[in-house]
Amino acid sequence: MAEFAASNETDTADLAVRLRGVTKVYDNGVVALGPFDLDVRKGEFVSLLGPSGCGKSTALRLIAGLNAPSSGSVGVAQSSAAAKVAHAIGFVFQEPTLMPWTTVRENVRLPLTIKHAAATDADTRIDKTLRQVGLAEFAGAYPRQLSGGMKMRVSLARALVTDPDILLMDEPFAALDEITRFRLNNDLLALWRSLRKTVIFVTHSVFESVYLSQRIVVMTAQPGRIAADIRIDAPEPRGEDFRTSVAYAGYCREVSNALAPSYAGQPDS
């Protein structure tokens, strides 16, 4: 993961993530991504939307530094916080990905333990983060005792506990039932409004992406390229009123139309 080089361009100070000509070719020769260019401004909520296997998760893993690009450059703004435990990026996987052998509290503590945080500082951060995701009473529970939605909240808390500037979310709510998903959508929006993180949210749901995002990057099928870049200029704060509004339906139609060519030629579309 490269930090921004001393670039001559003046607008990079405002950017959280910058991808230039990024491609990813897997060992078996499959071209998963690109070439792919993406600029994400600080504090922006961007969704990557596309069909399964279009490389949107790959793009997220490249930004996180979990995989290296085959070519091109990935730039991520350095963490603004001075604290030792600060980490520029928090990652939420498609599955909760919790350690089953320990409690909610210790799961959330993990990034702090790895970063050798002082115990008292860590406890304060964990308490605060668990309150933010509404799990304060479940600190002592084991993951198996929690529902799918609560496990996802623990995963979110773990990503937030280091106070990252950028939150990467890889279809985090895809496996949840609709009601739980709506609640988590609302809670995520509330968190984003109060914490002002940069969020890059991968999803294959048109409705979820329109509801959450300020901007939707629609991707083509394999290899993933940008098909459309759509701004959602709905006023904040958004709530259930927005979900049932005419404007919301209009945006959904626009995004669906932009997405349709990505599914063309697929047998099940």
Binding site: G65, F91, F93, E95, M99, I114, Y142, I179
Partner: protein, 277 residues
């Protein structure tokens, strides 16, 4: 959350399930009692001499009469088993950790671990007894038989770590030691415990095999040695009594390891959770 429905299997336990649980315990006991009764009956009806086939009552009497000798032998065998088991546990886990850190070490050494495992220990024991002091040879035998399940299970466990969790550790820049202690070892724990459970019984077998191989030539006094010695003297009741003690020792070892496993895993692992969880 409330949106999750209760799965249909989570019914409260009925009288039937309590009844079947009682049957699970009572039936094997009934089979044992019937077996002992038939054995005793056959011995008495046909008036079979104890040096051919002793009845259960004769075996039990011998067990009590010879307790000073047999208990001493039991201690010796148990100690050997324990030492072999400890060596197998430490050696197996340590080798697996080493293999996990270095692919090349694993490639170079793993075939020899397999060879050691597939060569029958009964054939190796006489050679070991030539080159090593008897007590050491017996422990080495126990180790050879018991270390492989620990090694292969631990290796499997260390390789079964959740990929995304491993990615998370990389994301936060965890050191090798942190990844090992915080992620790999806890993930592998159920596998390690499974390996140890097999190793417990196997180290008893290894100890017995080596004692038998040492035979009357050896200076040992373990239970297997007693069985061999009693065989030469046609003291058949004592052979049965010693065999009974070996079986009991095996059952206790297995029970203790199963209990340890349950206590360590009961809070989180599927294998240790009741159906109602």
């Amino acid at each position: 959350m409330s949106a999750l429905a209760t799965p249909p299997s989570a019914e409260p336990p009925t009288r039937d399930s309590y009844g079947s649980r009682a049957l699970r315990i009572l039936l094997p006991i009934a089979v044992l009692a019937a077996g002992i009764a038939v054995w005793e009956l056959v011995v008495r009806v046909y008036d079979i001499q104890p040096y051919v086939l002793p009845g259960p009552s004769a075996v039990f009497k011998t067990l009590i009469a010879d307790w000073p000798v047999l208990s001493q032998s039991l201690l010796v065998t148990l100690l050997t088993t324990l030492e072999g088991f400890a060596a197998a546990a430490i050696g197996g886990i340590a080798l697996a950790l080493l293999f996990n850190q270095s692919k090349w070490l694993e490639v170079s050494l793993f075939p020899y671990a397999v060879i050691l495992q597939v060569t029958p220990v009964i054939a190796i024991a006489p050679l070991l007894l030539i080159y090593l002091p008897q007590q050491t040879a017996v422990i080495v035998c126990a180790w050879i038989v018991a270390f492989f399940p620990v090694l292969s299970n631990t290796t499997l466990g260390l390789n079964s770590v959740d990929r995304n969790l491993a990615g998370l550790f990389r994301l936060y820049g965890a050191s090798r030691l942190q990844t090992l202690v915080l992620l790999k070892l806890p993930s592998a724990l159920p596998y390690i415990l499974g390996g140890l459970r097999i190793a417990g019984g196997l180290s008893l077998i290894g100890a017995v095999v080596a004692e038998i191989a040492a035979g009357s030539a050896g200076a040992g006094s373990g239970l297997a040695y007693r069985i061999a010695e009693s065989g030469y003297r046609l003291n058949i009741p004592r052979m049965f009594a010693a065999l009974l003690l070996l079986s009991a020792a095996g059952i206790v070892i297995y029970g203790l390891l199963a209990l340890t496993s349950h206590l360590l895993l009961r809070r989180w692992h599927e294998s240790a959770l009741g159906k109602e969880n």
